[in-house]
Every structure is written in C-alpha cells, then in structure tokens.
C-alpha cells in the first residue's frame, strides 16, 4: 500500500520549545486520517509543517512520495486553513479563478472544475457575490471549494466544520466520504471527536507536541474495554478460568462482563470459555467512544 503521508521524527521547535516533536506518522493512500489533541498540543504546527507554511527544525517527511517542500507535488494537494481568510474584495468566482491560476490549471479545466466545486460545497448561485458579503459558513465553504479545486489526491482539512451548522457538517462529512470513495486521502484536523469517529479510518492523538497513541478508532477503545460474554451457563469453574485473563465486572446466569487489559486478551477469553467446556453464543466488547479514549489518554499523560 502506498503512503500518502510519511513522517520520520518530524520536529518543529519555536524558539527552542516544541511545536511538535519527533512525529512519526504513516497515512495510507485512500484513508481519512484524523489528528486529535487539546488546544496547544501541536496539531496546527504539524499541519502547517506538512503543507509548507513552516520549516521543520529536524526530521523528514514525504507527501505523495515526494519530499517535503517539493513545489510540483502541491498541484495534487488541497488545503483548507483553519482561519479560512480569503481576499474579500473578490467575488467567489474570482477567488476560485485566482486559486485555479495558482494551481496552473488550464482554461478548460477551470471551466469544468469551478462550477463543479461550487456545486459540491453548495455555493452555486452565490459565486458572483463578493467574499466580504459571505457569512462565516459560506467563507468556510468557499475555502473548501479552493481546497477541492485541483481534484487533489491529498487534502488537508484544518477544522473544516468549525463555522458550519449541523446540516453543513453532514455535507462536509459526505464530501469527505465521496473523496475517500474516489481513492483520495484526507488529513483531518478537528476538535469534533464525534465527527472524527464517524469518518476516520485512522486517528492519532497528539499531546505536548508528541503523538501519544494512534490506530483505528474502532480498535483503539478495545484496550481496557469491558467485554460481554453470553454463554449457556455461568459456572464457578468458568469464572476461575476467566479471572486470570480479565477482571470480572459482573456475572449473571448466562452473562459475564469482564474488563480486559488489552485487545489481545479477547481471543484468549474466548478460548478459555470454550476450553472449559462452555458454549459461547456471543462475545462483544462494549464500544468506548473516542471522547472517552481521548480524555483517558490526556489524563494518563498528566
């Protein structure tokens, strides 16, 4: 599998203090990758370093197989900045024309792409209005249109829904899903954990400038999760077999709830039930929300 983003010990220090430190990330092509972290954790610094707004202090990174700083690869990269500030004296259409020129798009491509991205972000009909008359949500949408203009293979979205209402957020999620279906890679930086949980294939948590954990959102919560087992009958012998592998939270006549230390203990748990002669009808770990994982990780670090 090709990597859209790869970083190795990528570090950016501001006056000796860390913006982000020794970041090692691998984002596969076609994934939606979520970066999570509290304010001041280094999320924006990492994004800015990757898109070329700041120069790394040390380490290396590559985007779509090209080293950081390569200008030509940017033709395939879209970026929605967090503050989405654009030249207000332009109309929406003129702004997109300007960005199309910056992407060195030819006239025919522009003619087809501009109406398309306007339609995707829901701004068709508003393109003749000046950007200064746009609402905050519309500005974020035109920013998204600029990012999608070159039909990029890799898109960096820094808080893409911060100014949008719930309907707008859903639309952005749909845009991201649509891009993913077309094999595009999305690097999403967001505070909205539920949003990240809904769309991301991979997430990483950053704190104090360092990545403290990363993985698939549906698997990350398995460590320390409570597992529910439905068996034919709960016997003392069965409980004795399970006890070394997991802490028994509760047990009934046919149900046991036990907390495992890591997700690797879950198959062992199933083996223990079957090995003791029990009949296992159902095994499921209770889903832990990304928010709980996020808060637990932050507490662990303190």
């Amino acid at each position: 599998m090709n990597l859209a983003i790869e970083t190795e010990n990528l570090t950016k220090l501001y006056d000796g203090s860390a913006g982000c430190k020794e970041i090692c990330l691998s984002v596969e092509e076609g994934q939606i990758f979520g970066l999570l972290g509290p304010n001041g954790a280094g999320k924006s610094t990492l994004v800015k370093t990757l898109v070329g707004l700041v120069r790394p202090t040390s380490g290396s990174a590559s985007l779509l197989g090209r080293p950081l700083g390569n200008v030509e690869v940017r033709r395939k990269i879209g970026f929605l900045p967090e503050n989405f500030s654009y030249h207000e004296w332009l109309t929406g259409r003129q702004l997109l024309e300007f960005h199309a020129s910056l992407y060195k798009m030819d006239r025919w491509t522009r003619k087809s792409r501009i109406p398309l991205v306007l339609d995707v972000v829901g701004l068709t009909g508003a393109e003749r209005k000046k950007v200064k008359t746009y609402s905050k949500g519309m500005r974020q949408r035109i920013g998204m249109a600029c990012a999608l203009l070159p039909d990029p293979d890799l898109v960096f979205l820094d808080e893409p829904t911060s100014a949008l209402d719930p309907l707008g957020r859903r639309e952005v999620r749909e845009i991201m899903q649509g891009l993913k279906e077309r094999g595009k890679t999305i690097f999403l930086n967001s505070h909205l954990l539920s949003e990240v949980e809904m769309v991301c294939d991979q997430v990483a948590f950053i704190k104090g400038g360092r990545i403290i954990d990363q993985g698939r959102p549906d698997q990350m919560g398995a460590d320390g999760a409570v597992v529910e087992l439905h068996v034919d009958v709960v016997s003392d012998g069965l409980l004795d077999k399970i006890s070394p592998l997991a802490r028994i939270v509760s047990s009934g006549s046919t149900t046991i709830r036990a907390a495992v230390r890591s997700r690797e203990d879950i198959p062992e748990l199933a083996r223990a039930v079957v090995g003791s002669g029990g009949r296992l009808y159902r095994l499921a770990h209770e889903k832990v929300s990304l928010e709980e994982i996020f808060i637990n990780l932050l507490k662990e670090g303190d």
Partner: protein, 276 residues
C-alpha cells in the same frame, strides 16, 4: 509569478488608499495648475523676463517636489501591508501552499506593486510637466530620463517597505518607511543648506542620508536633468529647499538601482525562510 503579478496589480486598484491618493493628487494638481496659471499671467503682464527665468523653474521644482511627496505617500501606505497584512489576515496561507515557490510570490508582488506605483508616478510627472510646458513654454530636452527617475522614486520606497513588511507588522513597516523617507527629505534640505553656506558637515550629512535612503538624491538628479546648469541664472534657479545646488552623479543612480535590488533580494531571502 505572473498570477501574483496580475493579482497584486488588480488588488492595488481595489484599495481605498488609491481613491484617497487620486483625490489628493487631483486637489494638488488643481491648486498647482491654478497657481501656475495666475503666476504666469501676472509675470507675462509685467513682461519681466528676468523674473520669469527665476519663477518658472521654481514652479516646476515646487510641482515635482510635492508631486513626488504624494507619490511617496501612496508608495509607503500601499506597500506597508503588502506581505504583512496577508500574513496577519491569514489569506497568504492558501497562497503559499500552492505549487509556486516563495520567491515567485515576492517577485509577483514586487512587479505588480512596482508597475502600479510607476504608472501612478508617470501620470503625476506627465501632468506636472505638461502644466509647466503649456503655461510657461519651458522645454525639457531630457524629459524621458527625468520621468524614469521620477517613476523610480516610489519603487525605492516600496522595496524598503516590502522588506520591513516581510519581517514585521503592517504598522511597523509603514512607520519605519516613513522614518526613512523623513531622513531622506531632511537630509536633502540639510545638504542644500550645506551648499548654500559651504559647510562640509552639512553636505556630508546629506550624502549619508542619501545612502540610507536615496529617494531625495533621485529628486535632485531629476531637477538637474530637467533644468541643466547651462545658463547664468542656474545657481539662482537651484537655490532653496526644492533645488539642487550639486547634481548627484550617475553613480548615485547606479547605487539606487543596486539599493532596490538588494532590498528585493533580502525580501526574497527572509520570506523564503519565514514561518507563517
């Protein structure tokens, strides 16, 4: 680079400062034209050729000096935020991340703003020269050279302002550019006084100020090109704060061009390394 050039040129027309500068220029040129009209009428009525030989050049000097001041004002005000305001607003973030090198952004902005300011200066110079020519009949054989130097004045100021704009805030770059312009203006007057009373310290003070900010020496060069010292009244014509008792050498013009180039290259260098 040409996208940034075209964009910067267009952006210059969208700024309120252009409207203010046009109004100020229109008011100035209106007053200047009216003043010249009535001054020439009075002198013609008196048929005093000597008076005409002294006053007509003074009218030209007055026009070029204050015309240059308005052009410089526009140059500093419109260039103060040329980079910094885009950084402060965040609008540069979506531009830098596009497939173009950072030096192209500086080159495009420099060219766009430079062409805009040079055009404004050219119009100002053309109107002032035309008023003097049509009202007084004064002829200017080297007018193209003088016009080009007049157009160079705002570019000198812009190059300095752009560098400060890369390194600092909009307010700071405007303030620093105005301070440097003041040094040049005061230095030019001090040098004139130095020649008037033959004081070496004052003359050297003027030279040093011209090296710090050569915009005033450009003005003195323009004055000499427009009014070459080829008649017995030249010394009188060049007296006063708007005259040029000594002609700056061609090396001063060469220094000015290198000065602009140096500030441009420094802007490229620092912007290429700047964290946004």
């Amino acid at each position: 680079m040409f996208t940034i050039f075209r964009f910067t040129f267009r952006e210059a027309f969208s700024r309120k400062i252009l409207l203010v500068s046009i109004i100020i220029a229109a008011v100035f040129l209106g007053i200047f034209g009216t003043g010249v009209h009535f001054a020439v009428k009075d002198i013609a009525r008196s048929q005093n050729q000597m008076l005409a030989s002294i006053i007509y050049p003074q009218l030209l000097l007055f026009g070029l000096y204050f015309g240059g001041f308005i052009v410089s004002f526009l140059s500093i005000i419109s260039s103060a935020g040329i980079i910094s305001s885009d950084i402060e607003s965040g609008s540069i973030q979506a531009v830098i991340t596009k497939p173009l090198a950072r030096y192209e952004i500086i080159a495009g902005k420099f060219l766009g703003q430079g062409v805009f300011l040079a055009s404004y200066a050219a119009i100002m110079f053309a109107v002032i020269s035309s008023i003097i020519y049509y009202k007084t009949g004064m002829r200017f054989p080297w007018i193209w050279q003088a016009g080009l130097l007049f157009m160079l004045q705002p570019i000198v100021l812009m190059s300095v302002t752009m560098l400060v704009s890369v390194l600092s805030s909009t307010v700071a770059s405007g303030a620093i550019a105005f301070m440097l312009y003041s040094v040049a203006v005061v230095g030019g007057v001090v040098e004139q006084i130095g020649y008037l009373i033959n004081n070496l310290y004052l003359k050297n003070g003027g030279i040093v100020s011209s090296l710090i900010m050569p915009v005033d020496s450009l003005y003195r060069k323009i004055v000499h090109i427009m009014m070459p010292a080829n008649n017995p009244l030249s010394a009188i014509q060049q007296m006063g704060p708007f005259g040029a008792s000594a002609e700056p050498s061609i090396w001063m013009v060469a220094y000015t061009l290198l000065y602009v180039l140096a500030f441009y290259l420094l802007s490229v260098y620092y912007f290429s390394r700047k964290d946004i």
